[in-house]
Symmetry: C2
């Protein structure tokens, strides 16, 4: 069912000019992204290469354009307009647009639909209006916060189970292959992203994919994992050690990453520039001598999708705001020495932030 | 390494005017689709939401625009231009374009990249030029044919293994969950699409996803399955019967589908309108009284992706051409009576077609 409050937030953001890349105001917005449409209607339609659109206009009932292959009965509080594979999308949409006004379109709208609409003069000009949706989606309402909390609780419980898969001679892939079933048993509907399982030096590659590497004594064991519960995502990383407490140097790396994670989380509250949160973590790691080995942004926004619009990086000058949800995931990657990442999700509260993950961050020897 | 012969075919198709949706000629084409770029360079880069582009221009070396996150050493015979997340894509690409000429763009090019390029006046006007790529990709060269054959041979062998998973009390999901390992053992790199396993009345739903349905005596067992070998896809459907030979009516349905499949295949040769192949299969099923129960097109083109541009339907007036590869997959779906689909892949030859699947099509009772 259409969430009127979300539609209103988007339209007012659009009207203010903050909602378009061009900084210009608009009163009509054509959304194509299936997750954005799900966010507004509660209905997920994944049309592949076919056109899907939700037209929002000030003071009018939203119109949903759907290929008849995805016909459904449920009343969503929108006008449904079906079309077939032989229909012309331009002729379908144009009559609903005011050609004297600009049209804001989705940043993902494909050229094959956008070019003919321009050719037909369906609007006075065209803008990229995705910011209105992205900024609105980035501030979670109570229902969304509850789902995010639930997904992270399941993730905390899953981490405990994943540890038990670790035994002599096991490979990363053998461990990864068992994770989905564990998530499902705990109530998740699936992964929020393909799990990262990294042993030993593989932990020093932040984008490692599980392979046939065999676990050996003294290895780091890094899990970067997440699941979907009630349509919302979790995402957490912990780094363990197999059978042997790490060396002094690795311990120092671990403590740097942990401090970066915890001090970044401690400073988050409304009004703090997001870039300064990244800066805080980066400074701690740099002062410890590992600056060049923290090779990625501190975090990303999260919600219905694991990576949503908005990053926690040195170039994001937006201020933290109550309801924003993002990851805090510093790491140090130095092949031959250590690979450590520690990641939690947080939601910004009225005067601080709520850390959604409760799994401990002490150095833990397993197996 | 850039395949010059494929680039030349695309540019000449573009110049002829056949390669744009607008029917207009162009000399510069900006390709964004990762698989189209793989087809031309042998390098698969999946940039997610980031910009990826391959610029083809008459008489010039192709230029590949890649985010530095996907930096690679290999020489592909193209000019590589890296950009970072803080760079402006419009400023990156514009200097390479001739602003006095039209620019053909990929049908999938996202509005967030296309709109600023238009705003900057980077070309005289913009066209949808994907047809040039799609038409070229639809006619396979010898290397592609060899890979398609190999993928279908693996699929034939896999079908034999899948049958052995069928036993009393097994569920569709339990069977489907074991398929990937079998494909990998046979040399495939993965699925070409999620397998369909349908028992009993579920076979009468052409888009059924494997669920917890338990197999029982007398059930139809439909497998619609495919894998990827050497980057090319296979896709085959067979319908079996568990423990009991089907009733007279089901046997009649099966024979209609089989005849539709075999007679359609028998008529394929260069010069035959693709729509008439669909028509042949549809007529056979209609004359048998099941016309309304054949609810989809007869087939789809296939290659690097399971579904490529081009369908075998009543509205495709293109002629069959040597090197085209597509599926032939008639079906009858009548809940309560029967669900049967029989699918092969074919490649059009000089004077007929080569059927890539060799798995028998006789009614087979298993278990």
């Amino acid at each position: 069912m259409i969430v009127k409050e979300r539609v209103d937030r988007i339209l007012s953001c659009l009207e203010s000019g903050k909602g378009t890349m061009e900084g210009q105001s608009a009163e009509q917005l054509l959304i194509c992204d299936p997750y954005a449409i799900f966010y507004l209607t509660g209905k997920l339609i994944t049309p592949g290469e076919r056109f899907l659109g939700l037209l929002l206009q000030k003071g009018r009932t939203p119109i949903l354009y759907v290929n008849e292959l995805f016909r459904f009965d449920k009343d969503l509080g929108v006008v449904k307009k079906y079309y077939s594979d032989t229909d012309d999308v331009t002729k379908l949409v144009s009559p609903d647009l005011d050609p004297a006004l600009p049209l804001a379109v989705d940043k993902t709208m494909a050229a094959r639909f956008l070019l003919p609409l321009m050719e037909a003069g369906a609007a006075s000009f065209f803008l990229n209006g995705s910011l209105a949706v992205d900024l609105t989606r980035s501030v979670k309402d109570e229902q969304e916060k509850a789902a995010l909390r639930k997904a992270s609780l399941v993730n905390d419980a899953a981490m405990d189970e994943f540890k038990k898969l670790i035994r002599e001679g096991v490979t990363e892939l053998e461990v990864a292959d068992q994770m989905l079933a564990i998530y499902k048993k705990l109530g998740a509907s699936g992964y929020s992203f393909d799990p990262i399982v990294a042993f030993g030096d593989n932990a020093a590659d932040p984008h490692h994919s599980p392979d046939n590497t065999v676990l050996k004594e003294g290895d780091a064991v890094l899990f970067d994992v997440g699941c979907v519960v009630d349509n919302y995502c979790s995402d957490m990383t912990r780094t363990f050690y197999y059978k042997k407490y790490p060396s002094k140097e690795v311990e120092r790396v671990y403590d740097l990453v942990r401090r970066a994670n915890e001090e970044a989380e401690a400073m988050i509250k409304p009004g703090v520039p997001i870039c300064s949160v990244d800066r805080k973590a980066r400074d701690i790691i740099s002062e410890g001598g590992y600056g060049p080995d923290f090779t990625h942004r501190l975090g990303h926004f999260i919600g219905l999708q694991d990576h949503e619009f908005g990053d926690v990086s040195t170039t994001n000058f937006r201020l933290e705001e109550e309801g924003i949800a993002h990851s805090v995931e510093p790491g140090i990657y130095h092949p031959g020495i250590a690979g450590v990442r520690i990641e939690d999700l947080i939601i910004v509260t009225k005067d601080g932030c709520e850390v959604l993950n409760h799994y401990p961050k002490d150095i833990e020897v397993i197996g």
